[in-house]
């Protein structure tokens, strides 16, 4: 196929570096699941590790900390893409070792 490299890089670049309501540093921290404390950090960690356990209370707590819905939207998107991206890159590295560089 189907080389998704360019499209994936464009997605990551857009959500981390493009215009947004959350600060770029907040979006990158969510993407990396690193450096966000409190209820927002807990929500990001849940998105990355077990999103199916997220509850209304998790969102309520994040917004009670002062985040707007748009900021929560961006941070959750960044956390999801970041976790999927780490998994993808780990697997690609294993493939490269197993099959050799192309």
């Amino acid at each position: 196929m189907s080389d998704i490299r360019q499209a994936r890089e464009a997605l990551v670049s857009r959500i981390l570096e493009g215009a947004g309501k959350a600060l770029p540093s907040e979006r990158r921290a969510a993407f990396n699941n690193s450096g966000l404390a409190g209820t927002v950090g807990s929500l990001v960690d849940k998105v990355a590790k077990y999103a199916f356990r997220i509850t209304d209370e998790d969102f309520g707590a994040a917004m009670a900390s002062g985040l707007s819905e748009d900021k929560v939207f961006e941070i959750v998107v960044c956390a999801s893409v970041g976790q999927a991206n780490r998994q993808y890159e780990t697997a690609l590295a294993a493939l490269e070792t197993a099959a050799g560089k192309e």
Binding site: S2, A10, L11, G18, V47, A51, I54, A84
Partner: protein
């Protein structure tokens, strides 16, 4: 959905589109469509470009195979919305309703080609444990999948590890089977753009 902006924060043009979808399909607008249409420049458009290439770009995996992978990744993530949605697309793409429902519950006993079985097992491990190692990939190569097929499958896994997380995090409502059948027809006819 857990964020009101994703339910009702769209512009007038998008709201008109949703009304048209409801009228033509006689089904509610799926929450995944509401998500990709909200501030589409931030997430929806760039993600749709990834997903379209992944699911409808050239690959030696069939569209049914790739939709089955999407459903399997979703099932592993315990994402009910995506499991039902992509099971419906896989069933329609394969033209074999029983095949998908026979494979998803237990890969070990399912009647399925070995390269596809090994690939699904690897995607399951990657999704469940968040990593795979060289031996996991070698097992898929030994089962007969090509390097390119593995790369293509990993792209499917990437897309649905994003989308499934968002479905669960934002609290997508899970409609009845008719809505998923209508969505499956649309995705087969038009793709993910």
């Amino acid at each position: 959905m857990r964020l009101r902006i994703l339910d009702s924060g769209h512009g007038l043009g998008t709201k008109a589109l949703f009304a048209l979808i409801r009228t033509v399909s006689r089904q509610p607008v799926l929450d995944v469509i509401k998500l990709v249409r909200y501030r589409a420049d931030f997430y929806g458009r760039p993600m749709s470009a990834v997903t379209q290439e992944t699911m409808r770009g050239h690959s030696t995996w069939s569209i049914g195979d790739r939709e089955l992978m999407a459903a399997y990744v979703a099932k592993t993530n315990q994402c009910e919305f995506c499991t039902k949605a992509h099971s419906a697309v896989a069933r329609a793409a394969y033209h074999e309703g029983q095949k998908v429902s026979a494979i998803l519950p237990d890969l070990d006993i399912a009647i399925i080609e070995e390269p596809l079985r090994a690939t699904l097992l690897m995607l399951g491990k990657l999704t469940r444990e968040h990593s795979v190692d060289v031996d996991d990939v070698r097992a898929v190569l030994a089962a007969g999948a090509s390097r390119q097929q593995i790369e293509d499958a990993l792209a499917v896994c990437f897309s649905f590890n994003v989308i499934g997380r968002l479905a669960d995090a934002f609290g997508f409502s899970v409609p009845g089977p008719e809505a998923f059948e209508a969505g499956a027809k649309y995705l087969l006819a038009r793709g993910y753009r």
